[in-house]
């Protein structure tokens, strides 16, 4: 089996992101950059599938040279080789990322493409679905481990692969569903798919020697035109400061007489 998986570089998910004073973009001063948490789940799943069935796992990041750090981390988790396609975040939208990945799928011919459900910077939640449609592939998006938290920590894949078909559990509104897709297919990982491993030192050392290929959109023959442009950034509305109440009686009094919600 061959698997293509992604490693996007994003701002630290726990950092409180603020805009620059002139609203031209985010103030990344002092903000760390990391592997997108959802990509981490996708990578962990790819490696679990490799452990269970044997697979060649290729990890892709579309970003600047700094993105090599996240690609190397994915290789330290167990991916076999890496590809980085050059591009800055403001040169990309979900559609262009999907078109780049579609081109790489044509070249690499994987049986599965594993992505994160969303990137925690743009929060678009589109690339996996766009990619599946561009390729004419079926999709299983927002997948989690069918065995819950025990499954997440078990080291076993949450995706069941048998005879060219894949079954997955998806978290959907109103419940959970199991879908079956024929391979090749596109999968997007939710956070409850697994608990990503921490790469150990020998793997980190080994990852440094794994092949990492750099490419440009021009190499792939891709039209870099964007369909979605961010034309301005705004601050979200601020909430007026609240108060601390002393006890349940005061809380009830405030809710009844001030907020008038009970």
């Amino acid at each position: 089996m061959k698997i293509l998986v992604t490693a996007k570089r994003v701002t630290d998910p726990d950092a409180r992101i603020r805009l620059k004073a002139d609203l031209s973009g985010i103030d990344s001063e002092g903000v760390e950059f990391k592997l997108n948490p959802f990509c981490e789940n996708a990578i962990e799943e790819a490696v679990r599938l490799k452990d269970a069935h044997g697979a060649d796992v290729v990890v892709v990041g579309i970003g600047t040279a700094e993105n090599d750090a996240e690609i190397r981390r994915a290789m330290a988790m167990g991916c076999d080789s890496g590809i980085r396609v050059e591009g800055t975040d403001d040169q990309l939208d979900s559609d262009l990322v999907a078109r780049i990945l579609a081109k790489l799928v044509e070249q690499e011919q994987p049986d599965l493409v594993l992505l994160g459900k969303q990137a925690v910077d743009g929060d678009s939640n589109q690339v996996a679905q766009l990619l599946a449609a561009y390729l004419g592939y079926p999709q299983a998006v927002f997948v989690s481990h069918p065995e819950g938290s025990t499954g997440m920590t078990s080291g076993k894949p949450g995706l069941t692969v048998t005879g060219g078909k894949l079954q997955a559990m998806r978290e959907v509104d109103g419940g959970a569903e199991v879908v079956e897709v024929d391979m090749p297919a596109v999968i997007s990982a939710d956070l409850r798919l697994n608990e990503p491993r921490l790469p150990k030192l020998p793997m980190i050392m080994k990852a440094k020697r794994k092949p990492l290929k750099a490419m440009t959109m021009a190499d792939l023959g891709i039209d870099p035109a964007l369909k979605v442009k961010t034309i301005a950034y705004h601050n979200p509305p601020v909430r007026a400061a609240g108060i601390k109440v002393a006890d349940v009686d005061q809380l009830l009094d405030k809710l009844a007489n001030e907020a008038k919600v009970i």
Binding site: R18, L130, Q139, D249
Partner: protein, 323 residues
Amino acid sequence: MGNTLVFVEHRDGEFKKATLSAVTFARQVADKTGAAYDMVVVGEGLSNVTAEAAKYGAAKVYVVDAPALKDYTDMTWAAAVAAVAKQSGASVVAGAATTAGKGLLPRVAALLDAGMASDIVGFGDKGASLSFLRPMWAGNVIGEVEITSAVQVASVRGTDFDAAEPTGDASPVEAVTVTLGNPTQRLVSFKATVSSRPEMTEASVVIAGGRGVKSKENFKLIEDLADVLGGAIGASRAAVDAEFVENDYQIGQTGKVIAPDLYIGAGISGAIQHLAGMKNSKVIVAINKDEEAPIFDVADYGLVADLFKVLPELTEKLKARKG
């Protein structure tokens, strides 16, 4: 400019109210562009849901009714919606930002060579004609985006577009046939979350519990308070991960986004990703024994206390008040 096409969400013929926020969005687009809006219903055995959809002022309700579409799959339903969009010459395709909307609308966008904006919360004023506001970075930034393709696709947040009211007229209905290839994506099973309480996204009161609640059994404290207020229950990711409640109850960046009149969070620290899902609630109450917990930064009323002591007290006193 062509019409806006609204995707009608339903499960087995039961109309989903979330659709009505997309209708409101379509009405607002209509006010700006002068074009009308249509709706599209996909599935099998659709007379009830079609009749319901026809109450909301669409110029036309398109229906794609076929056995192959009985079960929702992103792949087949997206193909049907895209086919109707092409045939009707739609300029905008919109749906609610539910898990179905999120699964299907980007596929529709790719099939129409359209750009898509996710989770729209309003319109901007910087763009030439239509521009959209959408939260980024877990809601810490609002981006204003413009779509440059001929067709535009949008998913719409229910918290920011009120449910549309019926118009009193019935829209004309038109059946559409689409050709679908061999299905390569199939629904195997669906396990519904069973609850007698209102749905979190539609409730005016939501009581949410976090890791501080400590166990599935203790979650009864949250449920009891919800019941006395006629509210819904919700949870943090930590509470869902620990299996106190099902994934359906998760509030936040990767869960549901809610804006009830009253949100009460107990044993929830208030991580950025949780706040992303509830900080637009009208009144926020936080109960946490740690006075430094970040949830107090957004709470109108904070109570620094042990939830095991104050939740039962709150429930009892509310019961007494109601008589």
